[in-house]
């Protein structure tokens, strides 16, 4: 189910990326980034039933690595998004005036 949703989201984002309008392309990129983060989460086999913190003798615990990976990816993605927005603003003001 989640995998199907991811497929649809990636389809939408690629559709947006191929649009001629630059604003839409930026939105497509944002959506693509978020979807890939979700895929990273699924690939880490992170389930809601396993606890994150354990006190020594629990049988199964949540895999901490995908969380760290996604955190890194989100931070980087956010920085790039801020840069893209600044660039977009510059283009729009230039075309508008």
């Amino acid at each position: 189910m989640i995998i199907l949703a991811c497929g649809i989201l990636i389809g939408i984002s690629i559709f947006l990326l191929l649009e001629p309008s630059i604003t839409r392309r930026v939105f497509g990129l944002v959506l693509l980034g978020s979807t890939i983060n979700i895929i990273l989460l699924i690939c880490g086999r992170l389930y809601s039933i396993h606890p994150v913190f354990i006190n020594g003798k629990a049988i199964k615990m949540a895999n901490p690595l995908p969380q760290a990976l996604i955190l890194t990816a989100i931070v980087i993605g956010f920085g790039l998004l801020a840069f893209l927005c600044a660039l977009l603003k510059k283009i729009l003001t230039k075309n508008g005036s």
Partner: protein, 495 residues
């Protein structure tokens, strides 16, 4: 902690330190900045050269003491050390040149900060042994490329937007491939993935590797994905263009070289043949693009693409000589291309244009500059006894040895086209009469001479003394041909 490990961490810490120094310095302090930059880059060069001299074997550093395959490893081996020395040399030359570059002297908005961030990213991408870490370093390189591009001509945000969209899409696709790799293998270490690839044949691995190669190809500007490069690279200031062209795409090539020889499915018949096709198409269409351009820097930007084709071809050919050829060609290309760009930017800065219609008769006006350009251009086209000749000879010989006859033929034809476009530049810029001739003589500062001299002498030395270079590069070839050694060293903490 061994000396090499200490040196390796110093390389990283020093570039972070340099970054902070340049951010902290006030915008107006020109002389102090110059002095600081000179000493910073010289110390960095010494650090990297001493790493090469002291360290004769592969050293693995597990960050934070976590054992493989969970910890993130930094690996310094022959390949990464030699490449870092070359990159550091070019960075030093560009640094000297930038003191003369008017665009940077007049409005140096963070050029040096971008410079050090780029060096940090490049050293990270070369030394890392973890694929997610590689993604992070690629992002660092991307951000620094944005800084460098923005430090130049800001009148065309559309070209910048195009570059940004293409490259961010590339890194996102790379992240997707990494996520799928992690799902398939449960590890992100190069060595652990290579180990599992040898032991079991995953049927699902083929599309994942295709996606990864697609993303790397987008970053490295190979055949169907190279259109962003010639558009974006001529836009920034000259020094930024030299840095980007000599460091960014070449780093991607070094990573590709390592992955192709480490992960055995990438050397299978499917990937070899498709990558050979991509390489041939890259060199052919790149050189055709160059032949159709009428501006100095545009021609050189298309030649970057065309030369990348040669490098990819050398990387995928399955022979020991091809590895040496790939490394030799990357070194040759970094030096020669930076040299050509320097000549182009000196001429543009002096005459105010790089279009062929405006320029002419440089041969009469600038004798020495013409000699420098002539040697570098002939080296790029591959005339003996210059370095380009040996690079192409090694590639063509390894193509013939491994029965890729068509590749050898295409490589020869493409170098004829390269010669054609170099002759075109020579004719329009240096021989024929142009519209403008600048009255005042060209005054080159001592910095430019310091910057150009090594870039001119090193390719000539490489051409005159190929034996010595071959013996130096032999260990790299031996090491890459035996990936099991590398895997064992990185994973030794576990088994």
């Amino acid at each position: 902690m061994s000396v090499s490990a200490l040196l390796l961490s110093c390389v990283f810490l020093w570039s972070i330190f340099a970054l902070i120094v340049h951010i902290a310095l006030p915008q107006t302090a020109d002389k102090i900045r110059r002095a600081a930059q000179t000493s910073l880059i010289l110390v960095w060069l010494v650090l990297i050269v001493s790493l090469l001299v002291i360290n004769r074997q592969t050293i693995v550093i597990m960050l934070g003491g976590w054992v493989a395959p969970f910890g993130i490893a930094l690996v310094t081996d022959q390949l990464s050390q030699v490449m870092m020395v070359v990159f550091a040399l070019v960075a030093m030359c560009v640094s000297f040149y930038s003191y003369w570059d008017q665009a940077i002297v007049n409005r140096q908005k963070g050029f040096y900060a971008g410079f050090w961030l780029l060096l940090l990213g490049v050293s990270g991408a070369v030394f890392t042994a973890d694929i997610f870490n590689l993604y992070v370093w690629f992002e660092v390189i991307l951000v620094s490329a944005f800084i460098l591009l923005a430090s130049g001509d800001q009148s065309k945000p559309h070209a910048m937007m195009h570059y940004a969209l293409m490259n961010i899409t590339g890194t996102l696709l790379m992240l997707l491939a990494i996520a799928l790799l992690y799902g398939a293998f449960g590890s992100l270490s190069y060595a652990e993935i290579a180990n599992q690839l040898i032991q079991v044949q995953h049927p699902s691995i083929l599309p994942i590797l295709c996606l990864l190669l697609f993303a790397i190809g987008l970053k490295g500007a190979v055949f169907p994905l190279y259109f962003w490069l010639p558009k974006a690279y001529p836009k920034p200031s000259h020094s930024s263009m030299m840095l980007l062209s000599s460091l960014v795409t070449k780093t991607v090539m070094v990573v590709l070289l390592r992955l192709v020889w480490l992960w055995s499915p990438l050397r299978g018949p499917f990937f070899t043949h498709s990558l050979v096709f991509v390489a041939l198409a890259t060199m052919f269409f790149g050189v055709l693009g160059a032949a159709s351009q009428f501006r100095f820097k545009d021609i050189l930007a298309f030649h970057i693409v065309s030369q990348l084709g040669y490098i990819v071809l050398a990387i995928v050919l399955p022979s020991a000589l091809a590895i040496i050829a790939a490394v030799y060609f990357i070194i040759h290309n970094v030096f020669v291309k930076t040299n050509l760009l320097m000549v182009a930017s000196i001429i543009e800065q002096h005459h105010g244009s790089d279009g062929f219609k405006k320029l002419g008769q440089m041969l009469k006006q600038h004798n020495y500059l013409s000699v420098v350009f002539f040697l570098a251009a002939m080296s790029l086209a591959g005339f003996p006894p210059l370095s380009g000749f040996w690079g192409k000879l090694f590639i063509i010989k390894s193509a013939l040895d491994t029965h890729f006859y068509i590749s050898a033929a295409v490589a020869i034809i493409v170098s004829l086209f390269t010669l054609y476009s170099m002759i075109k530049i020579w004719r329009y810029v240096f021989c024929e009469k142009g519209q403008t001739s600048c009255g005042k003589p060209l005054m080159l500062s001592i910095y430019v001479i310091i910057a150009i001299a090594p870039l001119l002498l090193l390719p000539i030395l490489m051409g005159l003394w190929p034996d010595g270079i071959l013996t130096c590069l032999k260990p790299i070839s031996v090491q890459l041909q035996h990936p099991e050694h590398y895997i064992h060293l990185v994973l030794r903490g576990r088994s």
